[in-house]
Symmetry: C2
């Protein structure tokens, strides 16, 4: 009976899209497990109990609700006063002013911003440069838009050297006609932070070839040690070429409010607002108010959060290293992307055992591109002791199954 829709939109990229293993969806694989993370550790996303939201968030939400009519609805691109707050802070943070009237849109999550930005820039048949490995939705949205991805390699495997995007490959992609480049920085899933030189290189190539760049900087406030983060939008790229995506879902743990922003080229922001009018109208009106707590956290709050993540990172890296795993130390963000050792079972069987026997969920590497079937992604924004125990269990199982 269920053939109508499939035959109707035959050939739709949606038919090819498998989301059962996508982050957050793993629980749909085994119906007996509840929506929550279960008994073990769910490394597919951060634990907002281990790292709680910005303290004032719920209070700000309640005040918006009490304010009634004024906050329930907004212009599609977001409440004016919220755009003004975010523009001022993001302008300072990224090193280039943001006009709250024309250069910013508030979206339902950074995912919403990514979908709107790519949909506004990419037409069917277009070529789009994407990074391998990178956030799984980049290639999926490109496929959904019936555009053609051109893969640009991020060399990250050599843990002793800085991660490097292959800029020659990026130039080849532009030369071959790609007019859009999308990438995450810090990179999801490897935690590579692009150097100032690499970032300026991307800006220069975009200018030379007249391309637009969408950069997902969702994790750019969670940078470790002496690593310096360079914002693309203040690296010599034209204002009409760059869209920067940010949001408070990760470092700030405001994920349950579903908030994201895009800042940049006014003509692209306009198009994104038009599409948002069709897709979702606006980010939830009361939620938008919570953005007033963003970049306005209590003194020392962010530093402490970074330090706590760095400790967990170092703990887990130590366990992986002791077990002989290849894994790079993330310079930013809360993901690590270890490679599984040679085992007597497949990577899929390993992940299934890990989940069924120990309640530990990880995201399959294949979600981030072809060739990463033997990698797994862990979001280490977790309770430190539980994460340590779970990674010890994971390494023990891998060692037991090694061949």
């Amino acid at each position: 009976m269920d053939t109508t829709a499939n035959s109707r939109a035959g050939g739709s990229p949606l038919d090819l899209l498998d989301i059962t293993s996508a982050p957050g969806q793993e629980n749909s694989l085994s119906p007996a497990v509840t929506d929550g993370p279960g008994g073990g550790v769910d490394f597919s996303h951060g634990d907002v109990e281990a790292f709680t939201p910005i303290p004032a968030a719920l209070d700000r939400y309640q005040r918006a609700y009490a304010d009634g009519d004024r906050f329930a609805y907004s212009r599609y691109r977001g409440h004016r006063e919220i755009r003004e707050h975010v523009a001022a802070h993001v302008g300072g943070f990224t090193g280039r002013p943001v006009d709250p009237a024309t250069e910013i849109i508030v979206t339902p999550g950074t995912q919403g911003a990514l979908f709107l930005a790519l949909s506004s820039l990419v037409a069917p048949g277009d070529k789009v440069a994407i990074v391998a490995p990178d956030y799984f939705a980049n290639s999926r949205i490109v496929a959904y838009l019936r555009a053609q991805p051109i893969s640009v390699t991020l060399n990250y495997e050599d843990a002793a050297s800085p991660g490097e995007l292959d800029l020659d490959r990026l130039e080849s992609a532009f030369a071959a006609g790609a007019k859009v480049f999308v990438y995450s920085n810090p990179n999801n899933p490897t935690g590579v932070v692009y150097s100032a030189e690499q970032t300026r290189g991307i800006a220069a190539l975009a200018a030379r070839y007249g391309a637009s760049v969408v950069v997902d900087q969702l994790y750019s406030r969670l940078i470790y040690g002496t690593t310096e983060f360079t914002h693309l939008r203040s690296s010599g790229i034209g204002t009409d070429r760059c869209i920067t995506l940010l949001g408070p879902s990760k470092t700030e743990s405001l994920s349950g409010f579903r908030l994201g922003v895009a800042v940049g080229a006014p003509n692209v922001i306009d198009r994104m607002e038009k599409l948002q009018a069709l897709v979702s109208l606006r980010a939830a009106g009361y939620s938008q108010a919570v953005l007033e707590t963003w970049f306005a956290e209590p003194k020392g709050w962010l530093d402490e959060r970074i330090q706590q993540h760095q400790q967990i990172r170092d703990d887990l890296l130590g366990i992986f290293a002791a077990s002989g795993f290849e894994v790079r130390s993330p310079e930013g963000g809360s993901y690590m992307f270890p490679r599984l050792p040679q085992m007597s079972v497949s990577a899929e069987e390993f992940r299934t055992s890990l989940r069924a026997e120990h309640g530990i969920t990880v995201t399959p590497g294949a979600e981030f591109g072809a060739g990463y079937e033997h990698d797994i992604r862990l979001n280490f924004s977790q309770q430190r002791d539980k994460a340590v125990e779970a990674v010890s269990t994971l390494c023990g199982l891998a060692t037991k199954l090694a061949r």
Copy 2:
């Protein structure tokens, strides 16, 4: 400098889409006015201070927030326990059971559900039957999907007769190849409620021609007097043919939480979830919990709300009638769609004066289709006395400008 994106995606339907006059956007026309409804009455949407959210809504939200990790994230189609609550109630309400595992998805607003449903059913070049007049986004989404709309007339102008969809035209559309029909019931903007006979007629035609039907029943709990509401999904249509859109944003005033649901054909719900994974991931995790207050309102709460809306409706109809306006009495929902009299100024100039001089905002009829340039839509979910005063002002201005 801003030519890049436009030339990039040249020919995109987004270029043709003007949203400045779309409901909720009017305030962007005059920058001096704040995002709020200003001093007058904003008839472009309901006033959630006049009609407040379901009493337990904020409390339920706070409990979800306190529950931490379990509610921040969910499967893309929504938390299981929330789907179970909504499925049970919507099954009873619509007269046909809903399987919470396969037949329901929670979306960011009913707008989200509409976009996902049409995107899942319609491919470029397809023909789609839509109603004139109807909710402005229907035709816009069809255009965005590069599909071809076929307009089916709703005869509503004769206020003394029941509103009637031209079923012969609908059959012609199906015969011409339309495989999808989308409509709202109660109709937005006229308030027409389709009879049982008309609804069964739609179901029979869909079956005969193998078409899918998306019905937006956002207002189906706000039905006046002796009018009977007939649910399409229990009117003899195949389960694989029908998607029903519902949400608590209107009658229940939960608009600030951005929640909608779609129920129906499992294969379409699957496709909608895949697309939601790209567009927005999920409705905000904490907001989803608020759906537990839906269809679980205090005893008498809904009846009182309906009665209050009916009083305002009757007050406004009286004022319009006394001023010689043509307007139909809505049988459901909180919209009315009066036709402006012949005036010495254009409809646009009239609306501009109304807004600039009296702070009264209405939605232009042109938003609902070609040929409605002299109509205006009013959402009368407002404070009764303020609405009466504003409509008196509106009628007075129209009379002064009549010729």
